[in-house]
Symmetry: C2
Subunit: 746 residues, 2 copies
């Protein structure tokens, strides 16, 4: 099992160089084993992460009550507070505007690129140049795919995949290297456009969420960004807020709801404005189909007991399918992670192979469909040779259409719209739906995980809608619900079975279809498919988070955590500093460990008995060392320190920036000088008593969004702090490594 764990954790590895574990790990307060003891490497989550060249940092949302902080807010005037508030709202506005613009850009670009490709193909088809048509179709796809993969593999490998698991991990407190870098943003935007245009069975919503999150780099704003991403992808502003709340965020405050809502409102307004502009035809091939919006309102929604029975069956089977999907995605990702380690060129090659496979499926399978006579309604253009729409002509003679080509030779958005179209019960044959479902299900699984930005929503909706319509056809005799409604319910059930979201999905579907009357059925089907799928495995995003090796803190404590207390997992050599410490000691500690926080203990003569003064952070220590706030004797720094350093010096640097130990230039004679740590010590760290059960500690740790937590002794007369708990001390692999007899929750 550990073997698998390891291979999974190397998903993001770009370099096979074996790094020294001690050098890379960033939080190692509490190993029972000495540092050289090799077993650590297989039992600790951090050890696994440490084998990765990109160290994963933990985030910290504690209020740091040190002297600088206090000085700062005491001196802060009303104007500055006001400025700060304005700034936060301005950022929320900016995120909304930019995400809205990216959303529009994405849609216009995709519609134009794939519209161009499809028009060319269709034109050649009408001239019966079938092989040339395939060459153009597959050629365009491969070119787009290769471009996307090249961008991703060479500029920002972190941009691969959905992005939602990464945002989720970030909001849980895991800061993986470069997941929010500008390069990632760039690749996300263009890679996603190219990937979707290449006709892959992928969506643009996951990348859109990541795009929204990339724009800024602070927890609350990232939550806003994630919400804005969903709002932009689905034109579902309330759905975006709910998505951020239900799936993305690990912490939540009511203020956040308010600001997230503001951001998604801005997105909605931007989208709306552009749609009005584009409706005059100024956006190239971007037409009605640009932003997905499925209209099922034409169908009368009256349902009986038999319909509900059919829907329950649909949900149950789908729950099983959904968990199967997750299982297969997991397996495929593990294989890909091995392939991707072979280098960037291999990544691009893999993308090209999958692209060719997709093209062959889309073009080749369409030949198996029999031509269907066009319906006689005047309003429908059939057969259709536009770049979108249904009733595609393909190889059929005039007056006939190919129903499989209507699904395959279209953008994914259009295919979904066709499947959800109402009052067109007979439009698709049952065997067409079976072929398309099988193809999309398989292609969706093998496409996620290759090296370009890929969304999971659209493949899932596509497969789900096809499945739903199929069930609708099969139940024709029993249920009177429209096939388009069945497609919608199928999509809902598959989303529920895969993503395991409920309220947000429900709302997104509500906003996508603009029909409230369906809500009870959608809710029912979501509840059933989620419940069924939950029996088998976790949601797909949780799986990917785990696969990436992110030390994600679960909302629930594992049962075995109740049998352990805080002291049981906290151990190892605890490095503490004295209130006024020698420069040499600090430097040594910073160089030999990757610790990020150190307890500060005042010993006599600074106090009567040893007492815990608080915690200092590595980054703050580096600022003091860089600024050489040293003194010859063991004395307090005094007021003067507040003039030498500004609060801004201690502000959190963006990920990857900030001072490093190697940047320091300390002379030999300075090593014996002293440094007063009191001004930078957070004097009120959160503390728990050593006998508190680990389950209770874990919930507290997650709820407060901490990076360090002090464990204090129960009895007096011992050192004032017995250890420090960090994120990785709560990881099952760490705990089960220490206590192998404990049974994990399956």
């Amino acid at each position: 099992m550990n073997r698998e764990e390891n291979s999974g954790n190397e998903l993001d590895i770009e370099n096979d160089e074996v790094m020294d574990w001690k050098h890379n790990e960033t939080e190692t307060y509490s190993h029972t084993q000495p540092l050289l003891f090799k077993r650590v490497k297989t039992t600790s989550q951090i050890a696994i992460v440490g084998s990765n060249i990109c160290p994963i940092e933990s985030l910290d949302y504690e209020i740091l009550e040190n002297e600088f902080f206090k000085q700062d807010w005491r001196s802060r005037k009303k104007v500055q507070i006001f400025q700060y508030v304005i700034l936060k709202w301005a950022f929320a506005l900016l995120i909304g505007l930019l995400t809205g613009l990216f959303g529009i850009f994405n849609n216009i670009a995709v519609e134009n690129l794939s519209g161009f490709k499809l028009l060319m193909t269709t034109n050649l088809m009408t001239q019966h140049k079938y092989f040339k048509a395939f060459a153009v179709f597959a050629g365009c796809n491969v070119v787009f795919a290769a471009a996307a993969a090249t961008l991703c593999a060479f500029i920002s490998p972190a941009a691969a995949g959905s992005g939602i698991p990464k945002v989720k991990a970030y909001l849980n407190g895991v800061d993986a290297y470069s997941i929010l870098a500008p390069g990632t943003l760039f690749v996300k935007i263009f890679g996603s456009v190219l990937g979707v245009s290449a006709g892959f069975v992928v969506g643009k919503e996951g990348p859109m969420v990541h795009t929204g999150a990339c724009i800024v780099d602070r927890r609350d704003l990232i939550t806003c960004g994630a919400a804005a991403g969903v709002a932009a992808a689905f034109r579902a502003p309330v759905g975006g807020v709910l998505f951020a709340l239900e799936e993305a965020a690990s912490w939540w405050r009511s203020t956040l709801l308010w600001r997230t809502f503001f951001t998604t409102a801005v997105v909605a307004i931007v989208l709306r404005a552009f749609i009005q502009i584009c409706s005059t035809g100024r956006c190239g091939l971007f037409g009605e189909g640009g932003l997905i919006m499925y209209d099922v309102s034409a169908a009368a929604v009256m349902y009986s007991g038999a319909d509900i029975l059919a829907v329950i069956l649909l949900g149950t089977i789908r729950g099983i399918f959904g968990s199967l999907y997750n299982y297969l995605v997991d397996k495929v990702l593990r294989v890909y992670s091995i392939l991707n380690r072979k280098g960037a060129a291999f990544k691009v090659l893999l993308v090209i192979i999958i692209s060719l496979l997709t093209s062959c499926c889309a073009y080749g399978l369409s030949w198996f469909a029999t031509c269907i006579p066009c319906p006689t309604h005047e309003s429908i253009s059939c057969p259709n040779t536009d770049e979108s729409g249904n009733n595609k002509s393909f190889q059929c003679p005039p007056g006939y259409y190919n129903d499989l080509a209507s699904l395959f030779l279209n953008t994914n958005d259009d295919a979904i719209r066709n499947l959800m179209s109402t009052s067109t019960v007979k439009e698709f044959h049952i065997h067409t739906l079976i072929i398309f479902f099988a193809a999309v299900f398989c292609l969706g699984i093998i496409t996620y995980g290759i090296a370009f930005p890929t969304g999971l929503f659209i493949p899932v909706i596509l497969a789900g809608a096809c499945y739903g319509r199929l069930v609708g056809r099969l139940f024709e005799t029993i249920s009177k619900l429209d096939a388009g409604l069945f497609a919608l319910l199928g999509a809902a059930s598959f989303l529920g079975g895969t993503m395991r979201m409920t309220v947000s999905l429900c709302d997104i579907l509500l906003e996508l279809t603009n029909d409230l009357l369906l809500l009870p059925l959608v809710m029912l089907v979501l509840l059933i498919s989620k419940s069924v799928a939950d029996i088998f495995n976790k949601g797909v995003y949780d799986q990917i988070v785990k696969l990436n090796g992110f030390p994600y803190l679960e909302a629930h404590a594992e049962p075995y955590m109740r049998q352990l207390v805080a002291l049981d997992v906290v151990s190892g050599p605890l490095i503490t500093f004295s209130g006024i410490e020698k420069v040499g000691n600090i430097l040594h500690a910073l160089r030999t460990t990757g610790h990020n926080g150190f307890p500060v203990i005042d010993d006599p003569p600074l106090s009567d008995a040893p007492e815990l003064c608080g915690i200092v952070l590595r980054s703050h220590l580096l600022v003091l060392l860089k600024g050489k706030a040293f003194s010859k004797d063991r004395i307090f720094a005094g007021e003067e320190i507040f003039h030498r350093f500004a609060v801004f010096d201690f502000a959190k640097a963006g990920s990857g920036k900030g001072i490093k130990v190697e940047d320091l230039d300390i002379e030999e004679e300075e090593m014996d000088m002293y440094i007063d740590l009191h001004p930078i010590t957070n004097t009120s760290p959160y503390m728990v008593v050593e006998t508190m059960s680990l389950a209770k500690v874990a919930l507290l740790f997650r709820q407060l969004g901490l990076r360090h937590m002090c464990v204090i002794p129960k009895s007096q007369g011992r050192p004032p702090v017995v250890g420090i708990l960090t994120r990785h001390d709560f990881m099952p692999v760490h705990i089960l490594g220490l206590y192998p007899h404990m049974k994990p929750h399956k």
Copy 2:
């Protein structure tokens, strides 16, 4: 200011008997003043509450890790855990079903009662028996009103008002006496039906939320109940979930989202089933109008810059109106609280007076409207003599209708539907709208707070819709938006300005109108009116919570809290017990204080140095005392104790139940015996260091949902606990009483 505070706090007082403060207060760990020092009474929030005959208890959601708890879950088998999970879901299902049924019952009863009344009145009007018509109209109203008031005043005074503030306070951790009692539930259901039928400007949603919450008595389930209430009132399942999240709950977990959603789904399905049953005419006068659902989809939604300008103006003005509304409601409530103290008969009298006033307004003002010729569309029945619908005949000759009577002589739901009707721009005259707006605005303010279940949503929506339509008429020349849409936006803006909710209101309106295209405008108007109103005062529910004197913990710490540390507010005589304590000491402490938790300290010889063992709860102490788990000597209780008591003995009793000190029957010779407190001591209470800033402590306290928090000393050699913080130590009145120079946030 304190004077006002006091009068406000007596809103719920049923009895003028002056109670001894010491007897009633329930949490008094930390008064700087000695108990006899009178100033406490005016400065401490609890003191104010203590002057009330119904003591307000705090709720506690800490995981109590005592020996019994550990024994329990160790012995718990998988089957039992499974049973527990099933039970929780079963309760969620039950809440959904019952709330749905109550919702249906409420609607059917209201439609039938008021339909009967309106039909009688209209029939008499058509016979030109105007005075008799008024007598019937006003008579019915008074009878319904008096019945509602009698129920409320004599059976359950706690059922008066909206209920949402009470549910909100409960979910914050304030357990006011009998807010969730069965009597309250009964009065809520019938009082609300009678009150709405009596033609008051009140709604049924607040009571519905309270009804949902009353069905069970645990935090998570109450959250589900509150969501179910909104879902049932508005047929807005997603809106219900969001309401619970945004407005009601102080704590939130993702599991809760999932369960709340399940509950509202059940409500939606129940409602749906009944609507199908009722559509065949089997529910008396209950017709289309039963469950509110406003259809504005007929209007084309294309808006330009001018429209947006009009909407912004509408939102801004409405924000001011909204805060004015809150201000007036506050003032009126303070006056009513004085009147209501005069006894139950006075309460009923007040209700009757307001009822007569409402009847006079509704009937009398309608005479001021001029008759309007009926529109010539064939589809509309005009003039209309049904119990609902628009174009009421009133005094007008055939072929004419009275537009003011269409609004006044209707249920509130129907009036809103008329105001929001689209494509009927000219239906209402401008002066009609002005009269109706003024009447509804004033009646809404004076009606809330009288003694029967009153909702605030409907009055606000009614006034808002009228205002919106008025603005729409005034802007006719500039904006092309339909008057019905303006009515909707007006309702949204007034809701935003009064309730200050955003996402949930947006979603509720979305679900009410079933039109997504309006969303950007609704969002805009909500944001503006909320922002504007926030400048002036707080949301109406927060005001009422404060007025009720509930010690509500705010989500944000006040700025002055940063200047204080935990130790500054924690003080007073701290009563601690030894690990094995004399029965007499415990009994004395329980009798002379109202404390609910006591620190347990192990002294030598039990330990080497004094150490904090944990906290015992009053209720658990009472169980041990009642069971006489005494021993002659100072020895540990041993295993035997776990056979004498079952875990169930220590389970939380419903509010008002449980053992009381007076129930104990301790003999004189038992007073010198010992009792081992270790088995019931929660050994891992949450602790903060005395120097932690009060702001940080307050946030922690609220986030974790605590009742007690131990403050430990920074330095060793002192007693292991320096005090206990409770909810009231964070109340501004308490802190500002201790430190009058601190400036509160205005």
